[in-house]
Symmetry: C2
Subunit: 137 residues, 2 copies
């Protein structure tokens, strides 16, 4: 099956109509060897770089949000004012370099929590993330 058909099916099973824009964005996000950390801005740049037909920024915002809702993307915690997303949706942790604003994954097995608190009543834990902020030596 072609990549395009493959992606289209993935979208369909997520309840998302496989439009050309969504397929193109999905191809850019998910057909990668490594996980991808991005903002709407960098994703847009990436798409244009590959010589594709330009996609409206609003569509990129909508699509990224739709992919997040469908569970294909995760929002990353930062102390920044713009939103970062991650194609790695497994529970995992990050280094965050405050100077360069660069995010890198931390290997899952490199962090071990021996104790975590109970959630407040009426709530359950949706996600647990460790962020280690870095600075120059």
């Amino acid at each position: 099956m072609s990549i395009k058909k493959n992606i289209a099916n993935k979208l369909r099973t997520s309840g998302l109509r496989p439009t050309n824009q969504r397929i193109l964005i999905a191809k850019n996000l998910f057909e990668r060897d490594n996980t991808f950390h991005f903002t709407v801005e960098t994703l847009n740049r990436e798409i244009n770089k590959n010589g594709n037909k330009k996609i409206s920024l609003a569509t990129i915002y909508n699509t990224v949000e739709a992919f997040k809702k469908a569970g294909h993307l995760k929002k990353i915690l930062t102390s920044n004012t713009k939103s970062y997303y991650d194609t790695n949706i497994r529970s995992h942790h990050h280094f965050y370099d405050d100077e360069t604003k660069e995010l890198t994954d931390i290997d899952y097995q490199k962090v071990k929590l021996s104790k975590i608190p109970n959630p407040p009543k009426g709530k359950k834990i949706k996600n647990l993330e460790v962020v280690i902020s870095l600075q120059k030596l």
Copy 2:
């Protein structure tokens, strides 16, 4: 010594000239029984609520940033597009309720990490924070 004098000295020793605005903001932030989680918006509302003379938003931004630099405030990690600050500067962790955008402290001893990664070379760890995102049961 009066509260005002006390705050003025704290500011002076941080290299910040104790202006009326800074003293008023500091009073609102640090003369509390509990730690305070806030955004510039909520802080501004708080100040106005107490019947004080209005402070320019730009000043609040400047002051909060200056207090952060001086080590009196910490920026909190969220998946939000606006900046949250915390008057609790000790290393500690948070619950973050994605629906209500509410932040609460997690008792330091309620989280234990038994393993953390080495920082990348050339970098050292500035801060480590665990954020537990919550959702409705």
